[in-house]
Amino acid sequence: MQAATIRRFSLGICAAGALGFLASACAPSGKSSSSGGLLAGNAAERTYVPPGSYDEYYAFLSGGFSGQVTVYGLPSGRLFKQIPVFSQFPQTGYGYDEDSKAMLNTTFGFVPWDDAHHTEMSLTNGVPDGRWLFINGNNTPRIARIDLKRFETTEILQIPNAAGGHASPFATPDTKYVVSATRFSVPIPQKDVPINSYKQNFKGTITFVTADKPGKMDVAFQIMMPGFDYDLGHAGKGPSDGWFFFTTYNSEEANTKLEVNASQADKDYIAAINYKRAEECIAAGKGKKFGGSYVHNYVDPATRIATSETKTGVTMLYPADCDGLAYYLPTPKSPHGVDIDPSGEYIVAGGKLATVIPVHSYSRMIKAIADKQFEKTIDGIPVIRYDAVIAGEVKNPGLGPLHTEFDGKGNAYTSMFISSEVVKWRLGTWQVLDRIPVYYSVGHVMIPGGDSQHPWGKYLLALDKITKDRYLPTGPEGSRAAQLIDISGDKMKMLLDFPTVGEPHYAQAVPASLLRPGSIKFEKLTDNKNPNVTTSEAAGGITRKGKRVDVKMIAIRSHFAPDNLEGIELGDTVYFHVTNIEQDWDIAHGFAVFGANTSGVTLPPGETRTVKWVPQSIGIFPFYCTDFCSALHQEMQGYVRVSSPAMHVPLSANVSKSAQIRDGKVSTGGEK
């Protein structure tokens, strides 16, 4: 603050004396501020978003082992929201309340955690369109859809016949499909076999999921692949639209000590899948009926309640039955990322142990296929000769190339995990143009739209795995980090460094103007079709059905109605259906009851949440508003009386007279 004032002051003097000898005295002070080397001299200015002003971009960072998505603003690096996806989130009650807990159902039962890896925005004509964000769960393979009008998870589809849903949920340019490919090959269908029978029994699958209809995600078809590890993928675009590319490693098909045994071959493969051809083969009846159960969870848009459905059986396609479906492109040393440039011609692989960045050519691939330039066939999949498909190699890029994004101006930016830097190079000439250190061990890099046909090539975000000495220490468990880099000029410039929630595997970002106008301020009470909604103060109440007691309650500044509940007996299960009847922007309430074996819930305006409560003893139990809603928030509370069944306390719930008056149920002289 002081420094800024002094600098402004001195700049003022400089401006005043610009014509005189003072001008020369001003120069060094300007230089000293850029003494950070690669730090942009005006970094503070470039990333400073004044209080009350908005960021230029929304960025969605995957939370990795947090199982969630975080929403940041760029260039400020301010955290706006954590969107719960695959993990229970006590902050809002996601996965705890009766409305949302079905979202985490799988064929393995309730799975309240996952390892969320890759964010992918829905696309229209190959350009991010701001409708939805998809993210995969790697551990128990799943794909989730986040509605970007609500910034809420509205759908999760489990992927059957798979293990390790890592190469996911990358989308086709029209979002017809998102994909999931198995990082871990396993017996498909599952069976009890010796692990060392890997080569005979283990298989990989690539799953195409229909994604363009909200609430209707489903497995379109699966492709049975050789038992390699399918790591990452990206759809073709422009001329290569209709193809999907996946990296593989462990083409050695090792089943133990993979770090050594899967690093033997000089080259692994990129699998090129012609999914338009797959559609043709399925239409021609070449797909096979295949087993496999999976669960589909979705939030009903009217009731806002999640429901689960279990589905069985998929259409399985075998490459041997559908010629032209799949090819392997040899690619050096256990490739990780596979990224398609905005033109759709170049297929860039991040060979994590390679000394070069190999770039394949789509047009050469098509020609090689036509000319049958194959070196061998694996399970019906032709392997194209490396020299027939390669377009060029970036020499000496650094160590451990992983992922590449594009700026739309003919430049590519590749993360170097081992040498901990981002390297800028030129498509076509394969010349390295610039490099910048990042802190530390960068995984993905992200340019807004940088994996699409329309990059907004102004910023690059480096997503790092470790931070070591970068921040004040916080014990043995530190945070992961992201660094914002200016890529608008010839030289990359470091602008900002901020810690992240969980591990940011990948991210997506779009201009704020794409999402800001559509963001919903509150749910209209008239649109709330929750069967347990209470739309007015006097409409609340309490009912009993056997041992089940349902309480319908409203929350409004600054009270609940009803707020005194009696007649609940030990042994009952109580469901509190609480509706926030506020119809105003950002007027949220919360609800929690003493001793509940679940989380509290947040209640956005106009929405209903149901909390289950099983009283454990007789007595009086308070409930209260957990979100500081108003000046009388502390008064926003109530009591539940839990009695012994022998007491025969009649069921009652008070609704105050003033509440009834407000609702027009009772009229008084002064009103109406």
Partner: protein, 232 residues
Amino acid sequence: MQQAEARSTYLEGPSAAVLASSPSGTVKVRGQGRMPILARALMALASLALVGLFFVPLWRVQLVAPQYPEGLGMRISISTVRGASVNDLANINGLNHYIGMKRITPSAIPELQYMPWIVGALIVFGLLATLMGRRKILIAWLATFLVVGVAGLIDFWRWEYDYGHNIDFQHAIIKIPGMNYQPPLMGVKQLLNFTAVSWPDIGAWVALGAFGLAAIALLVTRRTLRANASLA
């Protein structure tokens, strides 16, 4: 009967000035106190402009607080009080319960029931004045309009006073001795955390414009009549 005949002749004829300059003395007498075509056109326009009051609000009250940067607003028209946004009125009423203010219920304000009839009557009266073309009727219309306008403002102020002062202190959650919550008729006033801003809305300007047009019509009439008198 004869008068009616004369009137119809007059209506179809050229401007009063032309008629007045004719050598016929009877016409000159008839022309006395009558509005020229231009004045009638202005009067017709003034009357019809008031139809707009059925569609646009007369007054706007905007409330802005630290927690309400987007503001809450009321739009007061001749027949109702609406929120500036869908839920604004409900939200203003919701907030008012803290200070014990009465709910603003448009159906409970009788003026909003009969104001449309008064404005309707003014329109009919104005059109009649146009047809009859008599200066005195025009003056009567202007006077009536003025009375209605002033009475309307006084009544509006009275309601504001009532809402601002008639506080249910027994049930009020926030009680500040000596505080009243009367919003300003025009201008800006701080009401606890809210800055209340009250200004005429489009309807008020329409009404003022209508009054202005009629006043011009009167001036035009007067000038024409004077010119005629001097010619005579």
